[in-house]
Structures are given as C-alpha cells and as structure tokens.
C-alpha cells in the first residue's frame, strides 16, 4: 500500500514537472533559432540592443521602484497605526486591501478613464506626467494585497506596542519611531512584499496599455504581434526576472528567521 502511494506521488510530480518544464525548454530552444545555420543567442542580442526594449524596460523598472516606495509609505504606517491604535478597523482595512484581487484590473482602469478623463474634475489623463502618476497609483492598488499582507504579518511577529512605548519613553518622535524602530524590524517583510510587487509590475499589460504609457508590457505585446524569435527571448528574460524576484524573497525570508527567534 505504502509503495503504490509513493509510486503515485512520483508519477504526479513527474507529470507536473513535464508540464511546467516543457514550455520553458521549448521557449528557450525557439529563442536560439534566429540564425538559420545553428543555435545562437542572436535573438537576445537583437532584443537587448533594441532601443524600444531599453526604454520600456527602464520605464517599467522606474515605475516598479516608485510603486514600491509609495506603497511602503502608504502601507507600513497604516498597518502600524491599525495594530497600535485602531485594531477595530483591521477587518475594514483588510477588506479594502483585498479588493484589488476581487475587482479585475481592467475594470479598475476603466473606472479611472471614466473618472479622470480630460474633461473631469481631476483630469489625470490630460497630460503625460499626470498619467504616469495615475499609472503608478494603479500599480500601488494592484500591489496592496501583497504588500499589506506581508507587512501586517511582519508587524504581528514583533511586539509593536512595547517597542513604541520604549521609543516614546526615550523621547523619540513619531517619524523616528517609524523610521528607526518599526521599519528595521519589519525589513524582511517589506522586502518580500517589494520583490513580489516588482514581479507583478514589471510586465503588467492591461493598465499600461489602456492608459497609453510606454511600459514593458505593451512593448512585449507589440513584439509578439510582429516578430518571430524575439518574443521567446523576451519570455525567457521575463521568466528570469520573475525567478530572481522570488529567489530574493526566499533569501531574505531565510535570513529573517533566526533574527526573529532571538528577538
């Protein structure tokens, strides 16, 4: 009985591995075939040298970094304040942070276009800088569920109240309590939320495309519609970026665990 169930487990893992690894192998193999006379990294060279790639990837990286900064500045003080002063608001705040998982991104951006069009009370889609701001806010919205949950879990693992009272009794001001006491203690939680946000934002298509901004997602779509080998190279690059983000989360989570035990 035991050995048959172990056999079944191996079969399940083998089929799963096949399904998940085959597309990666196929994509990689296809991306090497740009030169007719054998495998080469030609497609990667072409992609990396494309000014369009550099510009859009740079734009999305900048957007991701801004999203992470604004998201952290919004989420950490809120989660801290809820924990310390307004615990009865916790269910409401949790509910709001989960809404972006319920309302599809395409619906949210449709609402922006209706609410903030160039003839509205707050014409955020009127000029490019304002639309960049709107795009960044849309990304903060998308990141809310991940950021809030990881920061909230981080705050629950430390004794927020005692740390705050200790800092207060030593005469620390509110900004320095947050920056010098709370932030360092939830650093790994913030970082894991940040890397997840980066992975979500870097290739995002719907928001950027409908707000008409030159991000990496719409660029990918354009290349996919017009080229043969470059899309595969781009898919491999995107996969590696996602993998790197997730890998860094693991690294920071592992480093955080012993520290939390001694605290």
């Amino acid at each position: 009985m035991k050995s048959t169930s172990r056999l079944g487990a191996w079969v399940a893992i083998a089929i799963g591995t096949l399904y998940f690894v085959l597309p990666l192998i196929a994509t990689f193999e296809f991306s090497l075939k740009m030169n007719r006379d054998g495998y080469s990294f030609e497609a990667y060279k072409v992609v990396l040298a494309d000014p369009g790639f550099q510009a859009t990837f740079g734009y999305s990286t900048l957007m991701a970094v801004l999203t992470i900064i604004v998201g952290i500045l919004l989420v950490v003080p809120t989660a801290y304040w809820i924990q310390l002063k307004l615990p009865r608001l916790r269910p409401l705040v949790e509910f709001i942070t989960l809404l972006p998982l319920v309302i599809p991104a395409i619906v949210i951006v449709f609402g922006y276009l209706k609410l903030y069009n160039s003839s509205s009370w707050l014409p955020l889609t009127g000029n490019e800088r304002a639309t960049d701001l709107l795009l960044m806010c849309s990304y903060v919205t998308l990141a809310l569920p991940y950021l809030y949950r990881s920061v909230d879990a981080g705050l629950r693992a430390i004794d927020v109240r005692t740390l705050t009272e200790a800092a207060e009794s030593l005469g620390a001001s509110w900004p320095s309590i947050l920056l010098q006491v709370i932030f360092p203690n939830v650093k790994s939680a913030i970082l894991s939320g940040a890397f997840l946000t980066f992975a979500v934002v870097i290739g995002e298509f719907t928001m950027a495309s409908l707000l008409g901004r030159p991000a990496f997602g719409p660029y990918l779509q354009l290349i996919g519609a017009n080229r043969a080998y470059e899309p595969s190279a781009l898919a491999i690059i995107a996969f590696m970026v996602t993998w790197a983000s997730m890998g860094l989360i693991q690294v920071f989570a592992r480093n955080a665990r012993p520290a939390r035990k001694t605290a």
Binding site: A9, T78, I96, V140, A238, F239
Partner: protein, 304 residues
C-alpha cells in the same frame, strides 16, 4: 491579547478634561489612517462606483435597467458563457492537479527537497502570467512549437490535424493552467498541513485502510478549502486579460477581451453598455470571492 495593556491604563471615572483629550486623541488616531482611506477612495472605490452607477444610466444620465437587459443579448451572453467555460475548466483542472501535486509533495513520502522546490517554483510560476506566458505556449504548442514539431516528426502525430489550436478554448485553458496549478498548490498547502498524523493513526487502529481515511476523514476536512480554492482560481481566470489577448488577439470572444476592445474603441457603440459589462465582471468575481471567504472561514472553524 494586544488590548490587555490598554485596558490596564484605562482609569475609571475620567474627568471632563480627560474626555476632551480622549476625543482629540481619537481624531488624531483617525488622521493616521486618513492617507490610506483617501487613496483607497480615489483609486479603488470611486472608480469602481462610478462604473456601477454608469451601468444603470442611459446616455443622458437618466436611470435605466436597459444596459443590464442588453447584457442578455446573444452576442454578449455568449462572451460571458465562453469566459465562464474557460475559467471553470482552468479552475477545475488547476484545483485537481494542484491538489494532487501538493498531496504528492507533502504526504507522498518523497525526498525532503521536493516540497521546498515545488513551493518556490509555484511562487514563480503563479506570477509568470500575462504576455510572456503566451509566448512560451506559442513556442510549445503553436503551429511551429517544439511539442507540435516533435510529435509530427517522431510520433507521426499531427496535433493540428486533430482540430487543436493554441488559439482555441482548449489551448487557452492549457495555458491558464500554468498559473492556476501553482496558485492552487500555494493556497491548499496550509490546509493539507493541518491534517494531523493522529487522525490517520486513529483510522488505522480502528481497521480503516487508506481509502477509508481519505473518503471519511481527510476529504471531508479538506473539502471547504478545496471548494474555496476552486472559486478563487475561477475569479483569477475570469479577470485575466493579458494572456488571452496576446495569445488569441480578438479571435476568442471572452468578456475581458470584449471589455478591452470596448475601452480601446467603443466596439459596442454604447458607453453605458460597457459599464454594464464591467459591472457583470465585478458581480461574477465578487460572488466567487465571497464564496471563497465564506468557505475559508468554515474551514478555519472546522480546524479549531
């Protein structure tokens, strides 16, 4: 537990001054969360609310149920139906396969390294969606894809001769499974970890075999978690735009793509019908998420 120090510092019979101080303090407390609520209002709640209101207005802003009625026209109803089928198929497949993989890795008696590897990979793959994913599946199962070509050259099997296409219902479902299965693995793992070894031992000592254990003990305990996860996967697929758009363009008539085309170019020639389309999406994803939350709370209560 964190409220106990608070109640210790609360003195009985507060003077008038203390009450006033308490009031300003609570106003200050609210100021601390004001940025968050302002942000949520501007970029999440108001945009959604304005669409919901628009769904019940005609072009002149008068109240009407006409837009909702038009959702039941054949062309739009069929878009909802195809979306429903793709989401349900990928949710069902993702739930069953994801559960099997998680069970195999956690309870299958496999080497220790399998589980963390599966978890890390699931974290990556559940976020590897959108346009790059569609590229990967075109390279695999497209007309010139690796698997298609290998099957033709070595197994003498013409995949596209069977009527299969990566741009079809089946192709889209297969592609969605790439992020649905890992998501299932991630959500259902805590529930599987909640199965205690004593329950299996109790079952065995009473003479029950593996089938009895799974049928009478493990599955009934896991059931709310499994159903809840399936609903979450369903909502996840229902709102997805990028993968389907990059894969099929506009050849597959599903709701997110119809809505995308409507926002880009008013293909329905009716702004308010567009709002109703968005409202319909929120209702579907909202209901499945509500079901997920309800089932999860049931699962948690069952564990206590």
């Amino acid at each position: 537990m964190s409220t106990s120090p608070d109640s210790l510092t609360h003195r009985p019979e507060p003077g008038a001054g203390q009450i006033r101080k308490g009031l300003t303090l609570s106003a200050l407390n609210w100021l601390g969360v004001a940025p968050f609520f302002l942000f949520a209002l501007l970029f999440l709640i108001l945009p959604t609310a304005t669409l919901m209101i628009g769904a019940f207005q005609d072009a002149d802003g008068h109240f009407t149920l006409g837009n909702i009625a038009k959702l039941f026209d054949d062309s739009i109803l069929s878009a909802y139906w195809i979306s429903f089928e793709v989401s349900a198929a990928s949710a069902l497949g993702g739930t069953v396969i994801g559960l099997a993989l998680a069970l195999a890795a956690i309870q299958g008696g496999l080497p220790q390294w399998i589980r963390p590897t599966l978890m890390t990979f699931s974290g990556v793959a559940s976020n590897f969606a959108g346009i790059p994913l569609s590229f990967a599946f075109l390279s695999t199962l497209g007309r010139m894809g690796l698997v298609t070509v290998l099957l033709r050259n070595y197994a003498d099997f013409d995949l596209y001769g069977t009527g299969f296409s990566i741009l079809s219902f089946l192709g889209l479902t297969l592609t969605y499974l790439y992020f649905q299965i890992p998501l299932m693995v991630l959500i259902v793992t805590p529930a599987i970890d909640g199965l205690r070894a004593e329950w299996r031992e109790a079952c065995e000592s009473l003479g029950g075999n593996s089938v009895a254990y799974w049928w009478h003990i493990a599955l009934p305990i896991l059931w709310p978690s499994i159903m809840g996860s399936a609903l979450l996967l369903f909502a996840n697929a229902f709102g997805a735009v990028a993968t389907a758009y990059a894969l099929t363009g506009s050849s597959l008539n599903i709701v997110p793509i119809l809505l995308y085309a409507q926002i880009r170019g008013d293909v329905l020639h009716d702004q308010n019908l567009g709002y109703a389309l968005a409202l319909g999406m929120i209702v579907v994803t909202g209901l499945s998420n509500a079901g997920y939350i309800w089932l999860r709370s049931r699962a948690e209560r069952g564990r206590e």
